[in-house]
Amino acid sequence: MIALNEEQIMLRDSAYDWAQECSPVNAFRKLRDSQTGLGYDPEAWHHIAEMGWPGIVVPESQGGLEFGHRSLGLVLEALARTLTASPLLSCAAVANAIVLGDNQSMSEEWLPKLALGEAIGALACDETARHNPERVSCEIKDGYLSGKKLFVHEGNAADVLIVTAKLNGNIELFAIPTTTKGIKRTPLDMSDSRDTAHIEFDSVAIDPTWQLKGGKLLLTTVLNRARIYAAAEMQGLARQAFETTVEYLKVRSQYGQLIGAFQALQHRAAKMFTELELTQSCVDAALDAIDEGDENISEMASVAQMMACETTNLVTNEMIQMHGGVGMTDEHDAGFYLKRARVLEAWLGNAAFHRERFAVLNAF
């Protein structure tokens, strides 16, 4: 466990302050109600880009800040507290794929734009409703890609997609511009009101320079990092859901008592606090593990995701339950946290997926 340095503390605090002041939950509510069909907040994204956060994991040589994964995690946690609708996580995941994919022309093409927030990236790695990245039926034959990717987060806004496809029987990764002919995107109206798309590839001509090096191993590394980022996002979301709920317990009265005085609720709050602290340790350690090049990164990613999924699930359920009827209303924010939590849980492997993966990694 590495202590944060001064710059990281400043980054964390400024991300927190910015989210609270400039991107409160109400901004997300406006976005949802706007009927524009946009699954992210362009104004917020513009600010985020100005602050350089999309470049945190991009190398300096490509115009990024090269400030480390723990630092990115701090920002993701802070922004998730207010459900800031931004493609920051997906963009960072795509930047990782391109950096690690050891491809000079793709790096030059995309990394500077990703670093400045001028291009949006999305991971297109699932072909089923449940996360299963090893199942790949998208295939490239004679230079043409055909197949379909499902539930691509930020898929509608994306300028570049990281797509898994079979080439000569092996899983390979490609950085494909969404302007390419033959790509059809279908927006999905998900309960979290964020950007999700099905993406169909109908004989899309693939430029060989789009191929990233590393195949399945690269896919695992890219997903591990994205999962750890997602765990950080869930942790921020859960932390805020918890704090909002505890504040409510201190103001709501029934039977002449503040309901927070009831031990039945106090102990459930204490349990949530305990789970949040345990999860925080896993998220921090997993982010550090990326920065340190830890060999056990697959296990750390699954540990962080399992804990984050379970804790987020618990806390968002309790948020609704402890708010009672008001928590069921659309007017209250509790539903937003619950809905976003479930989408995040489903995205890169839920708790059961990562329990299974942890067992396989530990040979039992």
């Binding site: 002449g256 606090f273 345990l278």
Partner: protein, 393 residues
């Protein structure tokens, strides 16, 4: 990081100290005691080592020299510990004394400190705790042991329970009732010589067959007035201090968190339940529960590393630790089936018997040193700031 920087700029003074410690240890530490098992019984060798360390002041290295301590700085303690570890030596004074010593230092009068602390350091007086009573467990302040003021001193009558180490101790610090009209404000903290007439110790047999705790029966035990620690009727404050030190020490010493005998639960399950061709445990439900348990254990260990000491961390670690320990024990006996439920005899291996006994004794993990529910009370009230119940009129 801190360690790295201090290592590169080792002051010559520190090096001199290191050499002095090393020389003294080579002359005074009995090498036979480098094997932990050799320390378990109170042999002459164990006594000799304790006396030597005690006279040196190194049992309580940070304490002032006048109280029998070493007067060491944190850095000097680090050097001492490194040198002890280097040769397999150990600090002969136990946690009970370390914890109570802090309380005595904080609340004792000058006379109490200069009388008791050096004797504690040298192992002359070993201490046990008389807090809980049959009618006062989680609600400790409901304690009833009477301390009646007489011209000769306080006359103690009543019973204490769950005292660990009472059979090896000669002094006991007790919470007693000096005022029956008030609850918290009628409690005093008093130091009792266990050799005083009327002081009886009886071991309690537990569900696992062991007897680590005793009951104390006090009948007209006369204690001098100057043995009150802190002020009369202000003993609750002293007790809270003592409990806080204890919780933090237990939580940060990692002792008592999740150590279970035998091989890891994963290997135990693979061996006894069996695996398929892919090496997976054949019982998918058990496999999932073991995975979940091991992830939580990792989370606990990472939290242990991350956390700075404090009341929130102590309660989080206490509950997470007892939960993990108990889950592991339940999984272990489940995996072993009947073979994990033996009490004694050749039909069972030593590990199997130990696992069962550990399962049984492990039930105490969520009861002792502030029950699971008490830790949740602490978290919800002190950390989350949730309100108290208003009494109904």
């Amino acid at each position: 990081m801190e360690e790295l920087s201090s290592r590169t700029e080792q002051a010559p003074v520190a090096e001199d100290l290191r050499l002095a410690i090393r020389e003294w240890l080579s002359e005074n530490f009995p090498p036979a005691l480098a094997v932990p098992a050799a320390r378990e019984t109170e042999t002459e060798l164990v006594k000799q080592w304790r006396t030597a360390m005690g006279e040196k002041g190194w049992c309580m290295p940070t304490w002032p020299k006048q109280y029998g301590g070493g007067g060491f700085s944190k850095e000097e303690v680090r050097i001492l510990n490194q040198e002890l570890e280097r040769i397999g030596a150990y600090n002969p004074v136990g946690t009970r004394e370390t914890v109570f010593g802090e309380t005595l230092k904080h609340y004792g009068t000058e006379e109490q400190k200069s009388y008791h602390l050096p004797k504690m350091v040298r192992g002359e007086f070993s201490w046990c705790q008389g807090f809980s009573e049959p009618g006062a467990g989680s609600d400790l302040a409901g304690l009833q042991m009477k301390a009646e003021e007489t011209p000769e001193g306080y006359l103690l009558n009543g019973q204490k329970i769950w005292t660990s180490g009472a059979t090896e101790s000669n002094w006991c610090f007790c919470l007693v009732r000096t005022d029956t009209t008030r609850k918290h404000d009628g409690i005093s903290f008093i130091l009792v010589d266990m050799n005083t007439p009327g002081f009886e110790v009886r071991p309690i047999r537990l569900i696992d067959g062991s007897s680590p705790f005793c009951e104390l029966f006090l009948t007209d035990v006369l204690v001098p007035k100057e043995n009150i620690l802190g002020e009369v009727n202000k003993g609750w404050e002293v007790a809270k201090f003592q409990l806080q030190v204890e919780r933090t020490t237990v939580a940060t010493s990692k002792k008592g968190h999740g150590s279970i005998p035998g091989p890891g639960i994963k290997d135990l399950a693979c061996e006894h339940v069996g695996t398929d061709d892919a090496g997976r445990l054949v019982d998918a439900d058990l496999r999932s529960r073991i995975a979940s348990h091991l992830v939580k254990e990792k989370a606990f260990n990472l939290t242990f590393k991350r956390a700075a000491a404090g009341p929130a961390v102590a309660s989080v670690l206490k509950n997470a630790g007892s939960d993990i320990r108990q889950t592991r024990a339940e999984l272990s006996i489940e995996v072993l089936g009947h073979q994990g439920l033996g009490w004694s005899g050749d039909a069972f291996t030593e590990d199997e018997l130990a696992i069962n006994k550990s399962f049984l004794f492990g039930k105490s993990a969520s009861i002792a040193a502030g029950s699971f529910e008490i830790q949740y009370n602490i978290l919800s009230k002190r950390i989350l700031g949730l309100p108290e119940m208003k009494s109904k009129v």
